[in-house]
């Protein structure tokens, strides 16, 4: 198991290799990427920032919970920070387990908990030159280009 917040591009294949084992019959890789449209607005990129020390601590706590809850220690997650263009990966979660059901469940658990409690924020940049912090709980506050 491993969790990290990193400034560099993510390598999903490397994370998959990290969890692979002949003890496991199922491996899942989840890749979260920058999408071209959000709530009807054309997006050109996203800048991710974090309370880095706490983000690393919370990610690690989530993976530790997933390990005990789903019965595999083959779970790795990395979240990237900084500016990313369309299609670039912001998060990769690799899970391997003897059986597929638990692998899917563990992968889903990690991404949902990450979105709920890891202190990471994103500021979307739009094609029209504006940008805004994303607030999943409310309308977004807009600032100039």
């Amino acid at each position: 198991m491993r969790a990290a917040v990193v400034p560099t591009p993510l390598d999903a294949t490397a994370l998959l290799a990290e969890v692979a084992s002949v003890a496991n019959g199922a491996s899942i890789v989840f890749v979260g990427t920058v999408r071209e449209v959000n709530e009807g607005r054309a997006v050109s990129g996203i800048e991710y920032t974090a309370y880095e020390a706490m983000a690393a601590r919370e990610l690690e706590a989530i993976v530790t919970e997933a390990v005990s809850r789903f019965g595999t220690s083959d779970i790795v997650v990395e979240h990237r920070l900084g500016r990313m263009g369309l299609g670039e990966a912001s998060v990769v979660i690799a899970v391997a387990h003897p059986h597929r059901a638990e692998a899917y469940d563990a992968s889903r658990f990690v991404i949902e908990e990450l979105k709920r409690r890891v202190p990471i924020w994103k500021r979307e940049e739009y094609v029209d030159g504006t940008r805004a912090w994303v607030d999943p709980t409310a309308a977004r506050a807009e600032v100039g280009p």
Binding site: R57, H79, D135, P136
Partner: protein, 80 residues
């Protein structure tokens, strides 16, 4: 006593900075610190009850602060 307040993302925009050393009365709670921060935010851009972490752990409003604590005021998280 002195604590360090940290502001991130949109909350850093509210206070015009990401970090503030603050003198607070001994025995102050998270909730009391928030009331003080609200007094510095006349436009009320900070919500009434934002998430707070003390020394990198989520904290409740009744948690008592200690000298040297790092108190982060945390906007709605948006990772992934």
């Amino acid at each position: 006593m002195t604590i360090t307040a940290l502001f991130f993302a949109s909350y850093a925009d509210v206070f015009g900075r990401g970090r503030m050393e603050m003198e607070v009365p001994n025995g102050s709670t998270v909730g009391e610190l928030l009331r003080h921060l609200h007094s510095l935010d006349p436009e009320r851009r900070l919500p009434p009850a934002p998430l707070v972490a003390v020394n990198e752990r989520y904290a409740r409003p009744d948690q008592v602060l200690r000298h040297g604590d790092e108190v982060a005021v945390i906007p709605p998280v948006a990772g992934g």
